[in-house]
Symmetry: C2
Subunit: 115 residues, 2 copies
DNA sequence: GTGTCGTACTACGTCTGTCGTACTATGTCT
DNA sequence: AGACATAGTACGACAGACGTAGTACGACAC
């Protein structure tokens, strides 16, 4: 099985996290599981990478945190949730556009992909 | 114009350089110009990034350096050329395969690209 | 004959994102 | 009692990319 090196995803971790928050607010562990699920187990973000991304993106105002209870059935336990901001949505949009260009460029150098 | 962030290309700079050396041996400045040309000016590798990649890849035995004269018309001036090794070719092949997986994964998180 | 441009690098230090390791704490299942 | 899933936090290390700067040579303009 082909392994995805982290240096490749680097620069898109923030985008991946934001794409999950585009649907609805979520929290660390939940986002981590969703990433694994959506990628069919091909990519698992490291905890440290994820939480440091939260810190960075909150500083950049791409996301906002708030404390909330666990799912209804839960007792009184709290979790830190994150919600995407308008700036975050704009950033996500930019990254999606950038992706097209990046992909095009890289594929010019990849065997059997160039013109 | 959409700017390509370096973190995205990161992890593929070596691959891009090797793709040029797959055709024929070349040298720093020449490779730099070829990258710009092939990418239609969309990507220009920084000098420092390029030369540090040479050092790294020579250490990894993906490339070998040799000194040669400038083009025939040149006088006695020398340049450092690089040639891809068999290990380098194998590495390039692996990276090309990895690219397919990476691209697939990332596109699951990019708007209008998912399933 | 001086200055600028293109070529062809090298050196050094900084920054950023990722990762390894480790630790805390609670609830559930066995 | 111990393992496992959940839900994090803390801290330090590392690698690749980048900014800045400097060297050196030849060609060409003015």
């Amino acid at each position: 099985m082909v392994e995805i090196s982290s240096d490749v995803i680097r620069g898109y971790n923030d985008t991946i996290i934001l794409s999950i928050l585009m649907k609805e607010p979520s929290y660390g562990y939940g986002i981590s599981r969703q990433i694994k699920e959506i990628s069919d187990g091909k990519y698992a973000i490291k905890e440290t990478t994820l939480y440091s991304a939260f810190t960075r993106m909150e500083k950049n105002r791409y996301i906002e945190s708030f404390i909330a209870d666990e799912d209804p059935k839960g007792n009184g336990k709290k979790r830190t949730y994150y919600r995407i901001t308008d700036e975050g949505k704009a950033y996500y949009g930019t990254k999606c556009e950038e992706w097209d260009v990046t992909r095009e460029v890289i594929e010019k150098f990849i065997a059997d992909k160039g013109e």
